[in-house]
């Protein structure tokens, strides 16, 4: 069970691509990597791509909520994209889809932020 975090900055938007299984065991490293990246002064918004996420549980919800709070405290937005049906149900159950914007893919997410990639 592994999780890879890929980070990319486009203008003031941080793109986070999660690959693998996000659970309590892997949540810490995801939190640390994202936290550090979001702290960068020039980062304003975050796009989290779950396209290659093969598993997520409520520990993952916790990480998402934490990063949502972090970026909104900076006045930014968090968009989650490429959410599979299983993760979508978790977002619904927790009410997270009401505060986090869910979009189809990275491209749509970027243009919704006015970023041309």
């Amino acid at each position: 069970m592994r999780l890879d975090v890929e980070l990319q900055c486009i203008r003031r938007t941080l793109i986070v691509r999660l690959k693998g299984e996000l659970d309590h065991h892997t949540a810490d490293s995801v939190r640390l990597r994202m936290e550090e990246a979001i702290e960068q002064e020039d980062i304003h918004d975050v796009i989290v791509s779950l396209k290659q996420l093969t598993f997520m549980d409520s520990s993952g919800l916790g990480v998402m909520i934490g990063r949502y709070k972090q970026i909104t405290a900076k006045g930014g937005k968090m968009i989650v994209c490429d959410v599979n049906p299983a993760v979508h149900r978790l977002f619904e159950m927790s009410g997270l889809f009401k505060i986090v914007t869910l979009l189809d893919n990275e491209e749509v997410a970027l243009s919704s932020l006015g970023v041309v990639s």
């Binding site: 659970d23 309590h24 598993f55 549980d57 919800l61 916790g62 299983a86 978790l90 159950m93 927790s94």
Partner: protein, 150 residues
């Protein structure tokens, strides 16, 4: 290849977070003899993950020398699943089971573990004793894929 009534397994392992993934895979592999749909399998993996994670971080407070036990039994199309720890137990079950309640917000817990278990399983029963441990017993009827195609 079909599942005869009453097959079972018991799995005991050290309360270490690296076993969360292993526990999910083991239970999913056991349950796959019921030929569940992908959605059912994901539900079960998620539920195992929630209960095992709770045992590790709440029951044993991340101390790695505890033991987590999973018991799974298949009877016809029913899955019976329990997850047990001998950790600190839960003082107030009603509060604990409320959506979004967590005793460890500092660990960025979402408080959604019990809610997910209740949503993904047909029945969830929690028995806990402070200082003795916690046992979650769950049931789920598996709508076999076979039933859809035959």
């Amino acid at each position: 290849m079909s599942a005869n009534p009453s097959n079972y397994m018991t799995l005991t392992f050290a309360s270490r977070s690296e076993n969360e993934g292993f526990a999910r895979v083991a239970v999913a592999s056991f349950v796959s003899q019921l030929d569940p749909t992908l959605e059912e399998l994901t539900d079960i993996k998620t539920v195992v993950s929630e209960a095992v994670t709770n045992a590790i971080i709440h029951g044993y407070e991340d101390v790695e020398d505890g033991e987590v036990t999973i018991y799974a039994r298949i009877e016809a199309d029913m899955l019976f699943l329990s997850v047990m720890d001998e950790g600190m137990g839960i003082a107030d079950l009603d509060t604990a089971r409320q959506p979004l309640y967590t005793s460890k917000p500092e660990l960025e817990r979402s408080g959604m573990g019990f809610t997910i278990m209740e949503n993904f399983m047909d029945e969830v029963e929690v028995v806990s004793q402070v200082g003795k441990g916690t046992k979650i017993s769950m049931k789920k009827r598996i709508e076999s894929k076979k039933a859809l195609y035959n």
